[in-house]
């Protein structure tokens, strides 16, 4: 159990994909102008990462090592397409709002990275958990970025007006550059809160 606790803590904070590993930030910049979009994107990524890691881990003993990347990409794309079909069929408004970004989950480095780094060497259940935790870490940062962007850019949170009419919307927050500022500030704050431990064996 101690092990699964560590996996969850790693995914959410110590090894958070966005502000610690700095991967998967393209979509973190793209879809974070509304909190609802970010939430759905995050849940989608959790689903894809968790099940891809589970599947990769299940068949890791039969997969020839030199073609494992091909197999991983195949598995990831299957889950991404499942998600895309699901959104199109049962949540068409969200499918429209996220547009091409659902399909682009496949290129999110978090999934490939976790499949290669974790699922390839661990048994199915911890892999599934690791996928959930990494996805949750990503979702949490996305929501944080979206919170500030939507609040400053639209004066709303999850579509509910909170700042009133006197608030002047910051258009830059809605546009991609706004995400750069917010994300950079979040990474800065998060890294000052928990500075990276010195790697054993000395650093350069």
């Amino acid at each position: 159990m101690a092990n699964s606790k560590k996996i969850i803590k790693d995914g959410l904070w110590d090894d958070n994909p966005i502000f610690r590993q700095v991967i998967g930030i393209c979509s973190a910049l793209a879809v974070t102008n509304l909190m609802l979009n970010s939430l759905i994107m995050g849940l989608g990524l959790m689903f894809v990462t968790a099940f891809s890691e589970l599947t990769v881990s299940l068949i890791r003993k039969f997969t020839p090592k030199h073609i494992r990347m091909m197999v991983q990409v195949l598995i990831i794309s299957v889950y991404v397409i499942i998600l895309d079909i699901f959104l199109k069929a049962y949540y068409p408004e969200m499918s429209k709002a996220l547009g091409p970004y659902v399909g682009l989950i496949i290129t999110n480095c978090i999934i490939m990275g976790r499949c290669e780094a974790f699922a390839q060497n661990n048994s199915p259940l911890p892999s599934f958990l690791d996928g959930l935790a990494s996805g949750a870490g990503y979702t949490f940062v996305l929501l944080l970025v979206a919170f500030f962007r939507e609040l400053l850019g639209f004066g709303t949170i999850f579509g509910y007006p909170v700042l009133g009419d006197s608030w002047t919307n910051w258009t830059i927050m809605i546009m991609p550059p706004g995400a750069f500022f917010i994300l950079a500030i979040i990474i800065w704050v998060a890294r000052s809160l928990s500075p990276e431990e010195k790697k054993e064996g000395g650093t350069i």
């Binding site: 499942i82 199109k88 069929a89 850019g153």
Partner: protein, 201 residues
Amino acid sequence: MKKSFGYPIIFMVVITAFFTSILAFLNYKTIDVIAYNQETDLRRTILYVFDIEPPSDDPKAIEDTFNQYVEEEELDGQTIYVVKEDGETKAYAFPIGGTGLWGTVEGYAAISSDYSKLLGLDFISHSETPGLGGRISEEPFKQQFRGLDLTGGKDGEYIVYRPAPNGNVDAIAGATLTSESVSRFLNKDIDNFIKLKKGEK
């Protein structure tokens, strides 16, 4: 695991076939739902431009209202939509579109059968900046076109932004280029449609 030539190929073929069949099955199961969603979207747009309020946002209600009022027709290779009352044509809806600031803007506009009034317009897809040009799909902008008088339009200049002397619509502040392109393709498409329709008679 020993390295063999055949095993990876067989492995890849089997696993690809397996996952592809899962996807094919899912696709087959949902294809009708997705097609229906897209139709609902289109019907909602058409009803909106005709200013017909469906009783609820339920897809079935939208479909019923649509079938009750609207008929499809062909005009010059394009599908247009017609509202008839007691066998008499009341209004037409036709596709509009052109290049915006960042990409293609597409939508529908409705016009009364005597071509004197624009009944409304709606955009189905655009890639303008959210919060700036993207506001063309917001209610306050679209509302301006409801019942807009077209009889004053000379030389195909139906939509003119204020503060021009004969302006009839407000552009979007901070989105000059998007506003300009919207009025450009609207004027062109309205003019084309009227000419086509009149030429037909």
